[in-house]
């Protein structure tokens, strides 16, 4: 299975995402922001980083990158799409996911190992987790506070579209401690913490993030 990883100018975590895909048994396919070709991929990851220097708003300019046109069409047709950190910000700016990410409530850039609760294990990316499972993976961002209006919030909650929630104290002022959400269909997932940095004991706090990548491969094989 071929999983694309998009590199925008300013992307940082594209190599880690590609490595996670390879370790999970997939073929990582490098995608360039300025191309239109999706190179026969079956799924795609928008990685973390600071695309276009976070100018204007995080993800606001990356949203209009040429590659996003094709990704948007395919994702709306059901292709698995995962946005991590800056990738989540791009998904919200693209309106592929509702809401927006704003400055952390205490203004600090947070960089730490964060405990999360899996709240939806029926998405294309989270099927290998059990409902209510606690995982710990790195969180590192300055603008990770998830905001949306009341109507969107109650819709996300009632439809079970909160995928991961911060355990314990809310680190950044996100509404309802939301760390990640999905679309109605469950193929598009965005989250602020970094599963690709927690795939092996040598470099990560845990291996808890690995199942995102084995999960999507299993989803693709089954479909």
């Amino acid at each position: 299975m071929r999983i694309g990883v998009v590199t925008f100018p300013g992307s940082l975590d594209d190599r880690d995402a590609a490595r996670a895909i390879r370790m999970a048994g997939g073929e990582a396919v490098a995608l360039w922001h300025n191309d239109h070709s999706l190179r026969n991929i079956d799924g795609v990851v928008l990685p973390g980083g600071f695309s276009y220097g976070d100018y204007l708003r995080c993800g606001a300019i990356a949203r209009f990158a040429p590659i996003m046109e094709e990704i948007t069409v395919r994702a709306k047709a059901g292709m698995p799409l995962l946005g991590i950190c800056n990738g989540f910000q791009v998904l919200c700016e693209s309106h592929l996911l509702p809401g927006a990410l704003t400055r952390n409530s205490d203004l600090h850039f947070l960089c730490r190992d964060q405990e999360l609760i899996i709240e939806n294990n029926s998405t294309s990316w989270t099927s290998e987790y059990s409902l209510g499972q606690h995982i710990t993976i790195p969180l590192k961002n300055g603008e990770g506070s998830y905001q949306c209006d009341d109507q969107t919030l109650s819709l996300l909650e009632s439809e079970g579209r909160v995928v991961v929630r911060y355990a314990g104290e809310n680190p950044n002022g996100s509404r309802n401690s939301i760390a990640g959400i999905t679309n109605e269909r469950g193929n598009i997932v965005g989250l602020m913490p970094h599963p690709e940095h927690a795939i092996e004991k040598l470099t990560g706090p845990t291996t808890d993030g690995f199942a995102f990548f084995t999960g999507v491969l299993k989803t693709l094989v089954a479909s």
Partner: protein, 105 residues
């Protein structure tokens, strides 16, 4: 040439931690009567020819699509009146407007 100003502000219900941090710094500097700050963005956009309704509506579309994220932000569009005078005068006008005080009713 005309200049059109777009101002983007976080919606009132969205927390503005930067504005809050600035507001917290003011009393330390002796500005004890300034109670609240909200921080926004100002874009100065120049167009060829006069600021016709068509040009303004084009700027509004750019603001909706790119300059503002309507999920969390509002924007206003207006013509920069200081650009209407002659170029030689304009520099002075601009400088004056930089120092001028606008009272938001």
């Amino acid at each position: 040439m005309a200049r059109i100003i777009v101002e983007v502000m976080l919606k009132p219900e969205i927390l503005d931690p930067q504005g809050a941090a600035i507001a917290a710094a003011l009393p330390r500097l002796g500005f004890s009567d300034l109670t609240s700050v909200r921080q926004g963005k100002r874009f100065e956009i120049e167009v060829d020819g006069p600021a016709t309704p068509e040009k303004i509506s084009e700027v509004e579309r750019a603001a909706e699509l790119l300059l503002a994220n309507l999920v969390i932000e509002n924007f206003t569009v207006r013509i920069d009146e200081t650009m209407r005078s002659e170029k030689s005068v304009r520099i002075d006008e601009t400088m004056r407007s930089e120092k001028s005080v606008r009272v938001d009713e």
